[in-house]
Each structure stands twice: as C-alpha cells, then as structure tokens.
C-alpha cells in the first residue's frame, strides 16, 4: 500500500515512501534527499516570483562610462586597409581617425586630422592642413608623409587590399594598384610640407570629402607595421594589443577571439578632452536572438540589430528601447536580362508593377521600412528621384499580354533565388503569391547557401535574384554607378549606353544641380528598363538603452564615439533596468 511512514533504523529517523511494487524492498529516502527536495521547491518558488535582480552590467557601465556594444561578428582584423565589413567599421572608427571626420547628427564632413582644407577652382585638387597636435598613440606626431605612406600601402598590388578601389578617384591610383605604374610619386598625393597634404583627383568629385570618412582612407602607422614584419604582409601582427598603435580617440586594450574586443580612451588623442567614454567593449554576438536576450539581461547598451520577430513587441511594450533609424540602402530583386523571358522589357516591368511593395514593407518587414518605387533612397543628400516604378496591377496585366502571355498563359517557369534567411524567404513567398494571384504565373523559390548564392549572381546563373545595396557614402552616385555597363556589381547583364553617358557626364561636373539633373535622367532610364525591382528602403532597427546619450540617428549608422557618453538614469542608479518579458 503506498504511503509515508517513519521508521527508526540504527538511531537515524528515516522517512520512507512505500512503492507499489512487486518486491518488498523499500527504497529509503534519507533526510539529505528530503532537504534537497525542499531546496528545489524553494528555488522554484523564488524563480516564479521573479524577485529582486542584482545590478546588471550596464548599470555598472553607466557609472564608469564604459559602453557595452553588441557588434554582430568577430572582426576580421582592425587594420583599416585589410578589412571590408561593417562590424570592423564600428571598431576602426574608435581606433583611427582620417583627414576628415563626421558630424554626429548629419554626418557632414568636419575637420579630423586635417583642421582645414582648400579646394581648387576646378574641384580637382584638395589641399589639407593637418593639425600640429595630432599624435599617434605612441606619442609620435602625425605628418603628411604618414598619410602618403599609408596610401602607398593601401594601393600596393602585393597587399591586395580589397577596398583599394575606393582610392581610384586619385590620379594614377588605379594604375599603381594594378601594377601598371611602378613609381608611387606619380600618384596624385604630395606632401607640400610636414603638415600639408595635396591630393589631385581625376575629375571633380563633389562627394570626395564624404568619401574621405570611409576607413579605406585612414592613416596607418607604417613604422610600427614595419617593426612587426613586411609592410605588405597580410598576417602582420601589428594589430595585436601589445603592438597596436593608432591615432583615434581610443586604443586597443584587449582582444579575445569570438569573445570580446575592448578599447580604452587614448590620452594622446588631440581632442581627448571632449571624449567622455573611458572604455568601449565590443561583443561579437552573431545571432540576433542571442544578442536581444543579452540586451534584455542587462549586459548590453546597444545592439547591432534587432531581430525582426521582436520589433512589433518592442514597439508595443518598450518603445523607448527600440530605435528604428533610416538606413542608406535599398532591397531589390535583380532580373537577369540575358535569360528569356526577362530579356523582354515589358515582362520585367509587368513583374515590377504587379508587386505590392507597400504590403511587403508594412506587413512583412514591419520595422518602419518605406516601400521603394525608385532605386536611390529618398532624400539621399537632398536628392529624390522623380521617376517611379509604381504598383499598378492593371498595367502589369496589359504589359504581360502585350509581351505574348495574356493572363499568364504560356509563361515559362520563373525562379526567385535568395540566400537562406527567414526574412528573404518570407518576402519571396509573398511575391510568389502576388504574382500568382494577379498575373497568374507560377514562380518557384530557390534558397541557396550564402556562397552559392553569391557565386550564382556573379556568374549570372539565376533569373530573379534578391539583392541589397548599401551606399558607401551619402550621394546618389553610390547607388546609380552600380548599374554601369559591365560594372562588377551590375550582375544583371543590363547595358545602356545612354545611362553610362549620363553618369560619366555627371562625374565630370562640379555643379551639384546639374549633376542631380543628370542623375534624374539616368534613374528614369533605369526604372523604365527595369533590370531591377526596388522593393523597400532599409531601416535599421536596433535596441538602445536610454542612458546612452549623443547617439543620433544617421543614414550610414555612424555614431562617432567622441560625442557619446552615458548618463545614468534614476532607475539604474539603484537597481537594474531590465525590461520585463513581453507576453503576448
């Protein structure tokens, strides 16, 4: 019979529970095990009451001016001339500074290492005056020669720097990088004296100063690099914390692969007085969900990005933690014009006109993205395209019929290719439904692993391919030059002589108004010919704690650290600031 009773066994009281079993043996449960059960019960009670949490890491950071930043991926390196990614950018702008810096609010160029500059009448020559008190973190002053030697390293063919093409606006830079010119003094850089740098360009480049804020233009300490090995050796260990020297507001302190990279305030930085943060810790958390949980547990001040599934919940329950900043990029479907039926312009336009982009942006993405009816994002350096590729199902049907597929009859099978990611899949599935419902055509979906997807696009082995283009600098040229004939990023097989001519002409003008008119014409051609279907303009949703100040929404997601500081709010002076679980 089951039950509980006590027996005395050699002086120890033993509680036993009789099992309903076929044998007489009772399994004794000594006092110890009972106490364990009691402890477990107590823990469960405490757990479900969710009572007082200890102070979290961010409240500590707020007091000590240490910023905890989620950074998306382990950086390839912190050598500005070797890397190509965005997580690296977040770290490099702390460690280095270029000729020109960015204003924290609208990113317009402000003096960096160069305290002033002059532009020649034809806009092809820039003369930079470097400030005398700019120093490397080992105390050496920064001179014009430092910049010239840095650019030489950047353009060295043996280093094979992947962003070398960012410097091609300079006279003979491309030739030197391709090995056609062996003498670097023929490239358009000259040190007029120790603190004056002259740069000569191929043509008037109105966005040149914005270009200079990209890390491919940052100086590197050549003498330090040479001490650690050959200057064009990619595995050079000069970026290890024990060897590192930079010229930015921070220096490299600690670096554990896949774990943590921390930088601390540099005492030798010329503007150190303005820098309030003492330390920044970058956490390379790859999974967005993990990052969001880490943020909720109070371990991060700012995340790399917010997972799409949680944006709605934050908008409803904790809107003060969510930031949705506009971002300079457009999500598109590229159409391979070399393969029928996409070689027919009417088919391409029909596909574009039948895609309800507003529904995609507002019901699938739901993070404040704007539906895209043109390629360049609106208000890109005050340029907004007048030409549009609207949503017009009637016209789409007419065009499809004109092209020889009335009501979708006889339309060959089309495949949408994308790399494996939930959001790409969701959009592709929606588009598949839209085209079926409105045009009565059958479309297949193919998701590919990342490298296969990239390779397929490069070799034009696709029909409709998903793509996203982010601008490197704020100027419509950074978008429109993607579709130049034979451009490395065109990857659609589309060529148009008039388009090329318009862009080339815009490249020769310094007059902004004239440039923009040429861009308007070019974009009109692009949208008329439709080698792409613009779907939405990116936004950048991420999580940010209210204690972070000086973190302004910018189009390129650049937040210069010397304007950022932490203001402990009333709550986190006493206890933690973790938001509660959002229950549906």
């Amino acid at each position: 019979m089951p039950g509980i009773r006590a027996t005395r066994n050699s002086g120890i009281t033993v509680w036993t529970i009789r099992w309903h079993s076929t044998w007489g043996n009772q399994l004794p449960l000594p006092l110890v095990r009972n106490s364990i059960l009691a402890v477990i019960t107590a823990l469960i009670a405490v757990f479900f009451s969710g009572c007082t949490p200890p102070p979290t890491r961010t409240s500590y950071g707020d007091r000590e001016q240490i910023l905890f930043r989620g950074n998306g991926a382990e950086p390839q390196d912190v050598d500005p001339q070797i890397v190509t990614g965005v997580p690296e950018d977040h770290i490099i702008v702390a460690l280095f500074e270029g000729l020109v810096s960015e204003d924290p609010r609208d990113l317009h160029p402000v003096p960096g290492v160069a305290e002033s500059w002059e532009v020649s009448g034809d806009a092809k020559t820039y003369t930079f005056h470097l400030r005398k008190n700019a120093k490397w973190s080992d105390g050496d002053p920064i001179t014009a020669a430092d910049f010239i030697r840095s650019y030489q390293r950047m353009l060295m063919p043996t280093l094979a720097a992947e962003y070398a093409y960012m410097l091609y606006v300079v006279i003979n830079a491309e030739g030197f990088n391709k090995g056609q010119i062996k003498d670097f003094s023929r490239v358009g850089f000259k040190a007029l004296d120790d603190f004056t740098l002259e740069v000569r360009l191929n043509g008037p480049t109105p966005y040149f100063l914005s270009l200079l804020t990209h890390y491919s233009w940052y100086p590197v300490p050549i003498s330090v690099i040479e001490r650690c090995g050959p200057v064009d050796q990619r595995g050079n260990r000069w970026t290890r914390p024990e060897n590192f020297v930079g010229n930015g507001p921070f220096v490299l302190a600690k670096w554990r692969v896949n774990d943590l990279l921390s930088v601390r305030k540099s005492p030798t930085y010329w503007d150190a007085a303005r820098v309030k943060l003492q330390e920044i810790r970058f956490y390379p958390i790859e999974s967005l969900d993990t990052e969001e949980r880490t943020f909720r547990a109070g371990q991060l001040h700012v995340t790399y990005e917010a997972p799409l599934a949680r944006v709605d919940s934050y908008k409803r329950n904790q809107p003060d933690l969510l930031r949705v900043d506009p971002y300079l990029g457009t999500y598109i479907y590229r159409l391979n014009v070399t393969k029928p039926p996409l070689n027919d312009r009417r088919v391409r336009r029909a596909l574009a006109l039948a895609m309800d982009r507003a529904a995609i942006a507002t019901r699938i993405r739901r993070a404040g993205e704007a539906p895209a009816y043109c390629f360049t994002p609106p208000n890109c350096a005050a340029y907004t395209s007048r030409a549009k590729l609207p949503y017009d199902v009637e016209q789409a049907r007419r065009l499809l019929a004109e092209a020889g597929y009335p009501d979708g009859r006889g339309f060959p099978r089309l495949t949408i290719m994308f790399n494996t990611l939930e959001s790409h899949r969701a959009i592709a599935e929606a588009v598949q439904q839209m085209w079926k419902r409105d045009l009565n055509i059958d479309v297949e979906l193919e998701n590919h692993e990342w490298m296969v997807y990239i390779d397929n696009q490069r070799t034009l082995n696709y029909q409709v391919g998903r793509y996203g283009w982010i601008g490197d600098y704020v100027d419509p040229n950074s978008f429109l030059n993607m579709f130049l004939s034979g451009g490395g990023n065109n990857q659609t097989g589309w060529t148009n002589k008039e388009y090329d001519r318009l862009l080339a002409e815009a490249g020769q003008t310094g007059d902004q108004e004239k440039r923009y008119e040429l861009f308007q014409e070019a974009e009109a051609i692009l949208l008329e010919e439709a080698p792409l279907i613009p779907i939405y303009h990116y936004t950048h949703p991420y999580l940010l704690r209210p204690s972070v100040q000086g973190w302004y929404p910018t189009l390129l997601d650049h937040h210069p650290y010397k304007y950022v500081y932490l203001q402990p709010t009333k709550e986190n002076l006493t206890r933690s600031q973790t938001p509660t679980l959002a229950m549906p």
Partner: protein, 305 residues
C-alpha cells in the same frame, strides 16, 4: 595491449591522409571562394588577393603545399581573419569547447546513467515511465529550443545567470545544461535498453537467487555488459561534444571550436576547414580507440581477437 594501440596508431595515418585529401578536393569543388563578397570588388583586386594566398596555382601544387605545411606543423593562415593562423584559432578555442564538453558530459552521464539504471530495475513502474518520458522530452526539445528557453527563464526572468558570454564561472551552467540534458536523454534510453538485455540473462537470476543484494547484482555483474551500447554511442558522441556544438555556442555566444566547423564551410575558409576536420578526425580516432579498449575490458572474451 600495447601492440593493439600501436597498430591502431599506424592505421590512423592512411585514414587521416584520406580524410585530408577528400576534404581538400571537396572544398574546392563547391562553388564560391573565400574572397567572394556580396559587394564585389574589381576582378583584378580579387585576382590579386587570391594570388597572394597562392589560390591561383594548380590544384595539385596547392594540395602538396598544404600537406607539406602540415608535416611541418604549419596549418596555414586563415582566410577570413587574415590576422590569425588556423593553428592559433584552433588552439585558442578548443580549451573552451573542451571545458563545456566535459561539464555537459558529466551532467549527461550522471543524469542519464542513473535514470536508465533505475528505470531498468523498476521496469514498467511509475519511475520508469516518468524518467523515460522526461528523456523523450529531452530529445523532443532540440538544443535550439531548450537553450533560449533556459536563457529566457534563468537569465532574463530572474537574473541568476548571464544570457551569453563565457567570462564568469556561472556562465558555464546554462550551456552545459542545454547540451547535457540533450545527451542525457539518449544515454538514459540506451542504458535502460542495454541493462534490460543483461538483466534478463540467467546469470543475473542466479546471482539474485543466491542472495546477492540489488546493488551488488547491479554494479558487480550487470553494469559491465549493460553499459556496452552506451560506450559504443559515447565514443563518437564524446568527440563531437568536446569539439563543441555550433548551436549551443551560437545561442550563448561561447568562443568555442564548434562554431568554426560550420562557419568555415560557409565562408569557404579552406585552411580552417581542413584544420578543424583533421583535428576532429584525430579526436574521433582516439576516442574510438578508447571505446574499443573499454569494450575489451568490459567483455574479456574479446581479448582473443
């Protein structure tokens, strides 16, 4: 015994060579390369980078160079992180995976073997069903569901642990539980299955009839044979656990080796793929050797093989 081990080590060499060769050529056959990017650079620059690393040389020449490097102990530079060598990446991340793996295995073995033993003795009792049901639940909850659940519960709802990271001692708990619970389910079921096989045998009946206590029969007589399937399973499973779990390391952001296995393949990081595969192969061979030795110890009849 020594001859057995020595023979095994000799056998390993052609195995490793085959693995290295097949992996090397498999990698090159897959489309894409380590320097392909979504935002393409110019073809000249891409050619320059590939030439820097010797990727434009004939395949056979590259293969021999890589083999030669391994013989000298040089595993090559990493392509994704140009600043690091493959040896450095593996040496830095393996201790982390090893630690996590050991904790997970400990949890898995303690929970699994105990539950399986008790379930086998008390076959078809309440304990048997509930233990095996819990084990099934453990298998039904894959790590990518269990991990976030544990993190949500114990790191966010109450702040007993961090949601991610590997800095403090308490950061080991949640990931070890996630991985350990998953494997303990397998071990519990295998133990129960193996023990039931043994417990039906006559010699158990004899020992019990002669008056041996439950514990004596269990531990002195039955365990040796009953544990055999667990040992067979555990060999490769242990090697897998200590080289890290991609899923658990991603969920808790642990700087372990498991991540590199998957990400290196996706990045077409040729040198890292080869390095991790060969490292794993050496461990598998070592653990299989241990398993075979253990099986001989458990069943001495096999000694006369």
């Amino acid at each position: 015994m020594l001859r057995f081990i020595a023979r095994r080590v000799l056998e390993t060499i052609p195995v490793l060579l085959t693995i290295a060769t097949v992996t090397f050529f498999m990698m090159r056959l897959a489309p894409g390369g380590p320097f392909d990017k979504e935002k393409a650079t110019t073809p000249e620059i891409k050619a320059a980078v590939e030439s820097y690393y010797g990727l434009n040389k004939p395949l056979l020449e590259q293969y021999l160079k890589v083999l030669g490097g391994y013989l000298k102990g040089d595993l090559g530079p990493d392509y994704k992180y140009p600043n690091r060598t493959v040896a450095e990446l593996i040496a830095g991340s393996f201790p982390v995976s090893l630690e996590l793996g050991c904790w997970s295995l400990a949890i898995a073995l303690v929970l699994g073997v105990t539950a399986g033993l008790i379930a086998a003795i008390r076959k078809n009792s309440l304990f048997d069903y509930s233990a095996m049901s819990l084990a099934m639940a453990g298998i039904c909850l894959p790590t990518f569901v269990l991990g976030p659940l544990l993190a949500l519960g114990f790191a966010i709802h109450v702040h007993w642990f961090n949601a991610s990271g590997w800095d403090f001692a308490r950061d080991r708990v949640l990931p070890a539980l996630t991985l350990g619970l998953f494997y303990s389910a397998y071990i519990a079921r295998l133990t129960r299955g193996g023990m039931l096989e043994i417990l039906n045998q006559d010699f158990i009946r004899t020992a019990s009839a002669k008056g041996a206590s439950t514990a004596r029969v269990l531990f002195k007589h039955a365990l040796r044979g009953g544990i055999a399937p667990v040992v067979s399973f555990l060999g490769p499973a242990a090697a897998g656990i200590i080289t890290g779990s991609f899923v658990v390391e991603t969920i808790f952001n642990i700087p372990g080796l498991g991540r590199f296995f998957i990400t290196s393949a996706f990045n077409r990081d040729y040198t890292l793929v080869l390095g991790t595969v060969l490292f794993y192969a050496v461990l598998i061979v070592a653990f299989n050797l241990l398993v075979d030795i253990a099986q001989v110890c458990l069943n001495p009849k096999l000694k006369f093989e």
